[in-house]
Each structure stands twice: as structure tokens, then as C-alpha cells.
Subunit: 152 residues, 2 copies
């Protein structure tokens, strides 16, 4: 898929760079050999529901829609706390055992968070396997999950 890959890049750009205009996306993507016009970016932004936030420093920058983010994070937290059984790590893998029936739901929620660290997620009835992109990222993800579990 072309569009989705591009939108992945866009998401990545969001977290790293400070993006003030849609043309910035065009430039930055072009630097990664992805050539699109501002029109397409405008549509991507609509798709992804990104917002242009007036920043404290007086400028503007594009950002993830925190509303959604918080909503799913809340659900994720609840599900995780409800269904959590145990937890193990090996290499770039994180395996979460959950109460029977909760695997798919939890996997879907994790998916929808679009964590940068995650290569893929996979849920069966009582397990969720998260495949990270690197060892370092595995650690980071672990911490995130810890936080979700402990955080009130």
C-alpha cells in the first residue's frame, strides 16, 4: 500500500520534526524519496485527523489528535488492567498473557495506538504477542506497558 506507508512516514515525521506547514511535509517526504503534492498532504491530514496547533512559542505545528489518543489509551489501560495475567520478554518480543477471550481486543487496542516501537501485534484468545523493531525499542515498549499497568 502506497498511501498507508506514506501516512506512516507522516506519523513518524510528526514526532521528530516541528512541522509548521503542509509544504514542510512535502519537503521532508521528498527528502525520503516520496514525492507528493500539498493537495495529497491536505487529504492525508484530513484522513489522519491531524491538527495544526498554535504553539506557546508563537508558531504553529501539526500534531496527533490527542483526544483520540487519550480515548484509546484510556480503553487500553482499562482492558490491560482488567485482563492482565502475566508478562514476558524475549529478544524483540513481548508476550502478554491475558484472561481468555481478551487477546484480540487488547491486540487491536495496541495496534490502534500506533506505537513507533511496534513492528506488529498478534492476539489469540489469551495471548498478545508484540513484535518490536529493535531491542532498544522493546525496552521502551516494556516501560510504556509498565506505566499503563501501574499508572492510576
Amino acid at each position: 500500500m502506497k498511501k498507508q506507508e506514506r501516512q506512516r512516514y507522516i506519523k513518524r515525521l510528526l514526532s521528530s520534526n516541528e512541522i509548521e506547514r503542509q509544504e514542510d511535509f512535502v519537503r521532508l517526504l521528498s527528502a525520503e524519496n516520496i514525492e507528493v503534492t500539498q493537495a495529497t498532504i491536505s487529504r492525508d491530514i484530513k484522513d489522519m485527523q491531524l491538527v495544526k496547533v498554535p504553539s506557546v512559542t508563537g508558531g504553529y505545528h501539526y500534531s496527533m489528535p490527542v483526544q483520540k489518543q487519550m480515548d484509546t489509551e484510556k480503553k487500553l489501560k482499562r482492558t490491560l488492567k482488567d485482563a492482565y495475567v502475566s508478562y514476558a520478554t524475549q529478544d524483540k518480543l513481548v508476550l502478554i498473557k491475558v484472561l481468555p477471550g481478551n487477546g484480540p481486543a487488547l491486540a487491536a487496542l495496541l495496534e490502534s495506538m500506533h506505537y513507533d516501537e511496534v513492528f506488529g501485534t498478534l492476539g489469540d484468545d489469551a495471548n498478545v504477542l508484540i513484535i518490536c523493531k529493535s531491542l532498544a525499542m522493546t525496552l521502551e515498549l516494556q516501560q510504556k506497558i509498565q506505566r499503563l499497568l501501574s499508572d492510576n
Copy 2:
């Protein structure tokens, strides 16, 4: 102050109406006999850090910066849970007793949530008095506070 009052109105409009363009603000404010141009609205939006959110239904609408909102809500929740002592209501008043020293902080946090129900907030060393706009709104506010206290 003229500007601040206008921004109050803007905040109010946000919660009620579905506002798609800055010109909508101009029209709605004009309906309340506040005459300004789009340029001013643009600056207000920058001031207030409002964002134009692509909505699921395919359009756009202006909204509060949820990031901030969530951040202060978190702080509010923590403070409230930490310092809370007791709670009473009479007419349009809600009185929260807190541990000595926490009144002003809690009052400030409540202020910064800009709840629609609230006419004013007032904190001394160990008390916060919230004055609501109506009896109905007092009930609503009470529920919000209950939720903050019980919600994990």
C-alpha cells in the same frame, strides 16, 4: 476587558455549536452584538490555542486543545484526591474542604478547566467555594467532581 470577554464567548460557542470556519465565529458573535473581523478571530484562536479538527463525519470543526485540557485534568484529579477532606452543597454553591494550604491551588486548577457550569471560584487556605450558574448546573458540577474523585 473587551478581548477577554470575547474569548469567553468564543469558549462558550465552542462547546455548543459546531464551528467549521473562523467566519462562523464572526457570524455567531455578531448575533450576540459582538462585531469583529476574521483577522481578530484568527488571533484569538492563536491566543487560545484552539485547533481545527478534521471530524469523523468528513468536515472540520474548531475545538479546545485537548492536550492542555487533559493535562490540567490530570493535575486537578491528583490534587483533588490528595487534598480532599469533605464536600457540601447549598443552593448554587459547592464547598470543598481541603487540607490546609491546598485551597488556592485547587481553586486555580478548577478555574483553568473553564467549566461552563461555573460562575466563579474562590479558594482560601483550606476551602474552595465554587459558585455555579444555576441549580441544574450545580448538580452537573457535583457529578463532575464525584467522577474526578472516584474515577481512577
